[in-house]
């Protein structure tokens, strides 16, 4: 919980479109994933990575987390993507086709080499692996623990359904097991879980339903293909007012308990202890990001003074 960072919305932006790159600063998503992989045609791979590099170098007033989706490391573009883009200091790399822990480890090694070469703190570049094949789903637990750089696992349903030779439906029943397994692996490793894209940009009801499902399961964010989807996703992830009020009461109760020298107290007949406090703290941090509470809750309030 110490490095809690809100990642409700991770917006894909094609790396070969200057008109779209220039708008990255204006959208209020939590992160963008600048895409050098699927969105960029083969003939533009080289131009796109240089465009992205220059955009990042000129984007000095960074106001969101910046990830770059490179081409797979076993493609002829993956290494070159890193070499060109990393000196422009993205926050992290979204690794496509992270089918095995070894693939992630290889990226980790490369990132360390670049960090040494660029004289950066080791571990500066974070990693978001995409679990988007049957093999990756089976390996989810190993992948989640394959690098200290990993802050979340991302589920990629489009490639996953392709690898399963099935159609993706709006109901998403065919994704249920994979979605859950990614989630378990992430939660067990103490990292976040990011849900797959919703491709129909005109179906806001469908997006809302899918995001609500992901949230209920335990996902904390979702990848997006259009800025119009940001608001819907943020609305779903916004805590309800009752949740916020209750969380405030929990924090107040636990502070009272600590004053009395105990870690457990009753609130309206229900026991408040560490897991309840932890959940309340999460709600309040999310509420702060939504502007629902004015101050960010401090660590001491949650864990008590050392």
């Amino acid at each position: 919980m110490g490095d809690f960072k809100l990642r409700r919305s991770l917006l894909y932006v094609p790396g070969n479109m200057p008109s779209m790159l220039q708008n990255i600063p204006i959208f209020n998503c939590d992160a963008v994933i600048i895409d050098l992989e699927d969105a960029v045609p083969m003939s533009e791979k080289d131009a796109a990575r240089h465009l992205v590099k220059h955009f990042l170098m000129n984007y000095t007033e960074r106001n969101k987390e910046l990830l770059v989706r490179i081409n797979p490391l076993d493609s002829k573009w993956g290494y070159e993507d890193l070499k060109v883009v990393l000196p422009a200091l993205p926050d992290g790399i979204r690794l496509p086709k992270a089918d095995t822990p070894e693939i992630v480890e290889r990226l980790d090694t490369l990132l360390t080499e670049f960090e040494e070469e660029l004289d950066l703190e080791i571990g500066r570049f974070r990693v978001l692996p995409s679990l988007e094949s049957a093999l990756a789903i089976i390996n989810a637990v190993g992948i989640a623990n394959s690098s200290q750089r990993i802050f979340a696992l991302a589920f990629g349903a489009e490639d996953y359904t392709a690898s399963m030779e099935i159609e993706r439906t709006k109901g998403g029943e065919e994704l249920f097991n994979a979605r859950t397994r990614v989630l378990w692996a992430a939660k067990a490793a103490g990292i976040q879980a990011i849900d797959t894209i919703f491709a129909d940009v005109n179906d806001m009801e469908g997006l809302k339903a899918e995001t609500e499902l992901a949230k209920r399961l335990g996902y904390t964010g979702k990848c997006l293909v259009n800025p119009r989807q940001i608001e819907v996703v943020h609305d779903v992830f916004a805590p309800k007012k009752e949740e916020v009020d209750y969380a405030l009461q929990v924090i107040e109760a636990i502070q009272r308990a600590r004053a009395l020298g105990t870690g457990v107290i009753s609130l309206k007949g229900k026991m408040v202890d560490a897991p309840v406090v932890k959940r309340a703290a999460r709600v309040l941090r999310t509420a702060y990001a939504h502007g629902m509470v004015d101050t960010l809750i401090d660590e001491e309030a949650i864990h008590g003074a050392q």
Binding site: Q22, N23, P25, I26, F27, N58, N226, P227, R228, E231, G291
Partner: protein, 512 residues
């Protein structure tokens, strides 16, 4: 040449008229009496019907050098102005001034008559090719651009004297009672024609839908109409009103709309009795949509929606979010339908809407207006008349009127348009003075005029991206580079008249 208060060079006279440089939005006072109109008498049994447009022109007594008008409620679907000018040319009449409420691209057909001298000048703004050619120096006629309120003022005070007004009447009876609600060319409100009907020396109603007496509801009464003419078609219905006006789906436009909506909420004006105007552009409609949600959420009952009316506003009226609509022009078929059936959907004249020289216009009661811009400068002065190439392409509409009247006037515009920054050191043409603008909203930030320090503070408190307008300009120019200034000749092709009749700017010929 004299400098007006905004630093623009204004000549002492133009087209034989002595000019008053613009000073400020509110202090200029009118004097004298309203313009007179000849009294006539129509006895029982007299017919006003004449056989053709040409007969009507002859009967009206139109002569060389006189001034005619039409209204622009048929917008780019209008057939009437072209038909009238063609007939005037065929009759050998020359030197005619056009004082229509607006001229649209469809009226490019009259360009040969400008070149041949049938038309001597425009007492109105022009949209499209006529303005472009004038800007290039290819049309040697004076153009005087006025706002909707400014035009009503000019007619009322007699500085524009209309000799014959041709009023396109979608529903008209043989005595000249007329409205715009019904018929194949239904356009809804005839708000722009009302001043013409009251003050023109002769009024000709032209209709493609002659109905038995009486045509009700009576919007313009028979007491004002001299002649009635039937024509086959007043216009192309497909171009008169849009079938639908749509909210933008462009994420940048939606971001701008979202900020604009949050500015309105932060202003404190959004409460019972709220009054509001937007245009029909995609961003404006997106703002309207967000206000609709906010009003539903807060259970707020607004007072009136104003201006050009869209189906969006009709929806809000019928849902009870506004108690009335004040409609000077209908933008789409839904608005036309509504004005014919909803009693609270009130037709208003341009005079009632926006004239600064009467006993109080509706714009003075506006809480908030959303307006566009082609350019804004660091003093918040706004250009809507000329494009970045310097050509005069757009009319003022109600821009400067509503900005002056509303408590909160919000400019919504993308920070970059056609690779050019929207915020400039100097706008090409000043349409609306910065002292009547409250806020400029772009997707990259919100600039608040110094007149609204509390609003600025509140926006910052709400964590909205408030920026100084200079910083917004710098930020955008980092992406676009600094545009090269346009080169102009000294020759003046058009005057931009402020709503009170003073001259806020001039449009000069572009150096090619």
């Amino acid at each position: 040449m004299a400098l007006n208060s905004l630093g623009r060079e204004i000549p002492a006279s133009y087209a034989g008229r002595t000019l008053t440089p613009y000073r400020d939005p509110f202090s200029n006072q009118p004097s004298g009496l309203a313009a007179p109109r000849p009294i006539t008498r129509v006895n029982p049994g007299t017919s006003k019907l004449v056989g053709s447009l040409r007969e009507a022109i002859e009967a009206s007594g139109l002569k060389d050098g006189m001034t005619i008008s039409t209204h622009h409620a048929l917008r780019n679907g209008d057939y009437l102005l072209n038909a009238v000018v063609n007939e005037i040319a065929a009759l050998g009449i020359r030197g005619i001034w056009i004082a229509s409420s607006s001229v649209h691209p469809v009226h490019a057909e009259i360009i040969p008559h400008i070149k041949s001298g049938v038309i001597a000048g425009f007492q109105c703004g022009v949209n499209g090719l006529i303005g472009e050619l004038a800007s290039k120096g290819e049309l040697q006629v004076p153009i005087i651009v006025r706002s909707h309120g400014g035009r009503a003022r000019a007619i009322l005070e007699g500085s524009v004297k209309i000799d014959v007004s041709f009023i396109a009447a979608p529903c008209c009876d043989p005595c000249g009672n007329l409205n715009g609600y019904f018929g194949p060319s239904a356009c809804g409100s005839l708000g722009y024609a009302q001043s013409d009907a009251l003050h023109a020396a002769c009024v000709v109603a032209v209709t493609d839908n002659l109905v038995p007496y009486p045509a009700v509801p009576v919007v313009i009464p028979q007491t004002l109409v001299d002649f009635v003419v039937q024509v086959e078609r007043l216009g192309d219905p497909a171009k008169i009103v849009s079938t639908t006006t749509r909210i933008t789906t462009d994420p940048v436009g939606l971001q701008i709309a979202s900020y604009a909506a949050q500015v309105i909420e932060a202003s404190g004006l959004l409460q019972d009795g709220f009054s509001f105007q937007t245009g029909s552009g995609g961003i404006s409609l997106a703002v309207a949509d967000k206000m609709r949600s906010a009003m539903r959420r807060g259970n707020i009952k607004g007072s009136f929606g104003c201006g050009g009316i869209t189906g969006y506003f009709v929806g809000m009226l019928e849902e009870g979010l506004f108690s009335s609509l004040m409609d000077v022009q209908c933008f789409d078929t839904e608005a036309v339908r509504s004005i014919g059936v909803n009693q609270a959907h009130q037709e208003i004249s341009a005079d009632l809407y926006a004239n600064p020289f009467n006993r109080g216009a509706v714009v003075n009661r506006l809480d908030c207006v959303i307006l566009g811009a082609t350019e804004v400068d660091c003093n918040f002065n706004v250009n809507v008349n000329t494009e970045s190439n310097g050509y005069l392409l757009h009319n003022t509409g109600g821009h400067s009127d509503t900005a002056a009247g509303a408590k909160l006037s919000i400019i919504v515009a993308p920070s970059i348009r056609g690779r050019l920054p929207i915020v400039r050191d100097q706008v090409t043409t000043i349409t609306t003075p910065g002292e009547t603008i409250s806020v400029v909203v772009t997707e990259r930030g919100i600039a608040v005029h110094d007149r609204h320090p509390e609003l600025k503070e509140e926006l910052i408190r709400r964590k909205l991206p408030v920026k100084e307008i200079h910083d917004l300009q710098k930020e955008t120019c980092r992406i676009t580079g600094t545009p090269r200034p346009l080169d102009f000749e000294d020759e003046i092709v058009a005057l931009i008249e402020y709503r009170d009749g003073s001259i806020i700017d001039v449009v000069r010929r572009v150096k090619e």
